[in-house]
């Protein structure tokens, strides 16, 4: 097994990044104009990187598969973005954000990367405010904060329930400014279908123009993958329909290692599955756990009565409710990290206390918050002895001002009024901590190929804390890549334009074309969607919230069978050289069918429970996760082998913890 070099700079933790930056070789403005960069993806990571690199003077091409960069999946992020500003003076600091992230990630992330993230977090907020991002403010005109799970300070900045939208529109505006200047060429409705490697370096991509269907060649001196997460391997997730692993997987097949692919985040508060033709799941932001309390009935017969429609949740008195998070984790209560909250919900539902028709839902209840806010508001307004109705009205108004759009979204989907009835929620796939392996400079194992944002594995270990993905995407794009990509490119100032008529481009284009022809010529009977749905079922049942050896082995076998069936029986109409969304989908599902197997292999190899990865064989008597630091304090980086995901080779990057002590994560 080879050793991976993470290229972590020397020096004390707090000095590494500053020192590293000061030593970076510079590229002169005249030379920058000779250098081309491809940025695939225009979410927070991609838009911010493309804009910043263009501002520096590089020639940038930015790709996305949607019709506009503004529609990248980052747009859907709801709750907020963390930053160690300590505006609330509640004891926050760079070190605390660093520590919370390492602990929250269950000690499976790299200290140096996480510290850098915490260091640049404050600048992100400054940058966004300067761009005109309308964050929530207090009456005094200063920025407001809220709390997220797994922490005891308020460091989350937000714009109602549309924080991702506002941040992405900020980054998109910076990108648009560079497009107007001619510094960025925008290629929307383009999908990367191959990576081109020349003499061991990433030198371009093959992209399919999704409108004309044409396969296009684009060359550059460096390629940045900012293509988001692969949660859609589970079919049902909170990700957008188009979110995919294709760009990352193509890079993986060309030599980029995939790190910790099994680390998936299952978000505790999503709207439960309602039917068989459901195409996606909707998140109810974690910010709701600031004020909502999670419970199920204390007695199984009450749960049954509710399931059968004989009893309403509002009929149950306080002593007949089990606020199980407050009971099990008194210190953090409803704000335990996501993995802990999700497993606790599953535990209650498996034990027979679930409260919807399928038995897979718990309550998220705002009645205490409405009452508390209402009483406060009545007091402020000087209303003496307010009656119950007055209090409720006032309280509901405050809840509406904080979470209005989420409540509305809930009501639209479920046709129930969450101000009057507790919400029903259940865990769902939400985010992937795993991703392309990168070193400290965000460079993958393919020189010249970088990965940013959710596409890389870098900062969140085995579990990501809420409001930290937006922070990481913008940190990578605005404040890290502009330096580290520049370092790499400083060797390329005399290279000159990379030609696209080389054998490597020919070969990459032919590979892409052959694959697509394979789908079109298969002449099978089954639409792509059905394979995706079947894969999702395997992944959710065997590689979801709880995993075990037997199940994972079975999943691997099942996925292999499904993959064979896909190639022999998939039905895709039309041609390559035209608009053909089914063909695009076939390519994405084919890649998910390979990734799924690797995820199960990774979960099988990691014989411990940590963060989102819960192996049933490794739990305490109380059902808490048991980590094994002696054996598994490493990043599992997988190398693709012989065109067969089943033969992938494991490389370990040992993690060393010099600044935090490895503790059992406790939220009690």
């Amino acid at each position: 097994m080879s050793k991976l070099n993470a290229n972590i700079p020397e020096g004390s933790l707090a000095e590494k990044w500053t020192k590293h930056k000061s030593k970076i070789p510079l590229v002169s403005p005249a030379n920058k104009r000779q250098i081309d960069i491809i940025v695939v993806g225009t979410g927070l990571a991609g838009s911010s990187a493309a804009a910043s690199l263009a501002e520096l003077g590089y020639n940038v091409k930015a790709f996305c598969f949607q019709d506009s960069p503004r529609r990248a999946h980052s747009i859907a992020a709801q709750g907020g973005i963390n930053a160690a500003k300590n505006y609330q003076n509640d004891g926050d600091s760079t070190f605390r954000l660093f520590y919370d992230t390492i602990k929250g990630g269950d000690y499976r992330s790299r200290e140096a990367n996480v510290h850098r993230l915490a260091e640049v977090s404050a600048s992100i907020i400054d940058q966004c405010v300067a761009q005109g991002v309308p964050f929530a403010r207090e009456y005094g005109g200063l920025l407001d904060n809220r709390s997220f799970g797994g922490v005891q300070v308020s460091r989350t900045f937000y714009a109602k329930g549309q924080t991702g939208q506002q941040l992405l529109l900020g980054a998109y505006s910076a990108l648009s400014r560079q497009v107007a200047k001619g510094r960025v060429e925008l290629l929307s409705r383009h999908e990367m279908v191959e990576l081109v490697v020349v003499n061991g370096k990433a030198r371009g991509i093959i992209a399919r123009n999704l409108v004309t269907g044409e396969l296009e060649r684009h060359s550059a001196h460096a390629v940045l993958l900012c293509t988001g997460g692969y949660g859609n391997v589970f079919y049902l997730s909170t990700n957008a329909m188009g979110s995919n692993v294709t760009a990352a997987w193509k890079a993986h097949r060309k030599g980029a290692y995939m790190a910790n692919p099994c680390f998936t985040q299952i978000h505790p508060t999503c709207i439960p599955v309602s039917g068989d033709s459901q195409s996606k799941l909707t998140l109810m932001s974690e910010s709701l756990r600031n004020d909502g309390r999670i419970w199920v009935p204390k007695k199984a017969e009450d749960a049954l009565a509710i399931r059968e429609g004989r009893l309403k949740p509002t009929d149950l008195s306080e002593e007949n409710r089990d606020y199980y998070l407050e009971r099990r984790y008194p210190a953090f209560g409803n704000l335990v990290p996501r993995d802990v909250a999700s497993r606790a919900a599953k535990e209650r539902c498996d034990a027979g206390y679930g409260i919807n028709k399928t038995g897979e839902a718990v309550y998220l209840d705002f009645s205490s918050a409405i009452e508390r806010f209402g009483s406060e508001a009545a007091h402020v307004k000087g209303i003496k002895n307010p009656n119950e109705n007055q209090i409720k009205k006032l309280g509901e108004r405050i809840v509406e001002s904080k979470y209005g759009n989420l409540f509305q979204m809930y009501e639209k989907i479920t046709a129930q009024n969450p101000y009057k009835m507790p919400m029903m929620i259940y865990p769902a796939v939400h985010y992937t901590m795993g991703g392309i392996w990168v070193d400290y400079n965000l460079m993958t194992t393919v020189p010249g190929l970088f990965a940013l944002g959710e596409a890389n594995f870098s900062d969140h270990g085995a579990n990501r804390l809420g409001a930290s993905a937006l922070m990481q995407g913008l940190a990578d794009g605005y404040f890290v890549a502009p330096y580290t990509v520049g370092t790499y490119l400083s060797q390329d100032i005399t290279t000159g334009k990379i030609p696209t008529d080389s054998a490597e481009f020919d070969e990459a284009e032919a590979t892409a074309r052959n694959r697509m022809n394979g789908f079109l010529n298969s002449k099978g009977n089954t639409p792509v969607e059905i394979f995706h749905r079947d894969l999702g079922k395997i992944m959710w049942s065997q590689c979801g919230m709880a995993r075990n050896e037997e199940g994972l082995k079975k999943a691997i076998a099942d996925i292999r069978i499904l993959r064979d069936k896909f190639y022999s029986d998939v039905k895709v109409l039309g041609k390559i050289g035209e608009m053909n969304p089914e063909l695009d989908k076939a390519g994405r599902v084919a890649d998910f069918l390979e990734l799924g197997e690797l995820m199960c292999m990774d979960a099988l190899a990691r014989e411990e429970s940590c963060g989102g990865h819960f192996r049933e064989e490794f739990q305490s008597k109380e059902g808490e996760a048991v980590r094994k630091d002696d054996e598994f304090a490493f990043v599992a980086a997988w190398e693709f082998a012989e065109s067969d995901p089943g033969k992938s080779k494991l490389h370990k990057e040992e993690l060393s913890f010099e600044n935090v002590e490895l503790n059992t994560r406790s939220y009690k």
């Binding site: 949607q66 714009a159 909707t282 608009m579």
Partner: protein, 249 residues
């Protein structure tokens, strides 16, 4: 539930389109409108008919992709919803539903229900930003307090999802609501005030260049906007434009 679906089919921008009629059955009332189309498409593929092309991604009302004109209304019946947030429970068993693309000169049809809204991107490129580069040395975010009222109003304008329902609904295919939402957001904030005049002039100019029509204050856009963007934004933009054109002369 069972439905008859009349849907616009058009092979390319230059080709002639027309309505095709299909039947779907066993639709549950919990299904979203787009899930109903998924069912239709699965059925079409099995019958060797090209599936209906439509734009969609987030399926939760925020990306702005799912542009459809349903029974004569942008995003279908119901206020404050995008097509992906519309559920089949809003329809009656046996209904005939007609689906067409958003229509406007500046939104050419690409295929079936999919249109090209690149003109919106170009309006933003003309000035929908604050000219500030990335650097680690900007003033502290709390250095300039902003009145909550202004910050909230800026936020409300900034929630536009760029879907184009306003354009598709307007009899003049005007993009005033979309453009004014961005102009308002930035002019309400101190950071955006500095370039306000230039911004409004350039964005309005681009809007006209793209072939969007004039605003005649019918207010239909506001009614159909899924995000409740108010026509007050248009009034604000008109004021900004007026004062900018006076000072620029």
């Amino acid at each position: 539930m069972n439905f008859t679906i009349n849907v616009w089919r058009q092979n390319g921008p230059k080709e002639k389109g027309g309505i095709a009629t299909y039947k779907v059955s066993n639709i549950s009332d919990d299904m979203s409108f787009l899930e109903m189309i998924d069912v239709l498409n699965e059925q079409l593929i099995i019958q060797d008919i090209d599936p209906v092309v439509f734009d969609h991604d987030c399926r939760e009302g925020i990306c702005g992709m799912c542009s459809m004109f349903i029974n004569g209304e942008a995003h279908g019946p119901g206020r404050g919803v995008t097509t992906c947030q519309l559920h089949m429970r809003e329809f009656k068993d046996g209904d005939t539903i007609t689906i067409e693309p958003f229509r406007a000169k500046a939104f050419p049809v690409i295929k079936d229900l999919m249109v090209d809204r690149g003109s919106f991107d170009r309006i933003i490129q003309a000035g929908g930003y604050v000219s500030v580069n990335t650097s680690g040395n900007l003033p502290d975010a709390n250095a300039t307090p902003i009145e909550k009222q202004d910050a909230d109003a800026a936020f409300d304008s900034a929630t536009c999802i760029g879907c184009g329902a306003c354009v598709a609904t307007c009899k003049n295919a005007s993009a005033m609501l979309f453009t004014s939402a961005k102009v308002s957001q930035l002019s309400l904030l101190p950071q955006g005030k500095i370039e306000a005049s230039e911004r409004v002039m350039n964005m309005v100019k681009q809007m006209d260049l793209e072939g969007f029509g004039n605003c005649t204050n019918t207010g239909a856009c506001e009614v159909e906007c899924p995000k409740g963007i108010s026509i007050e934004n248009i009034a604000r933009m008109n004021r900004e434009y007026l004062s900018a054109s006076i000072t620029s002369k």
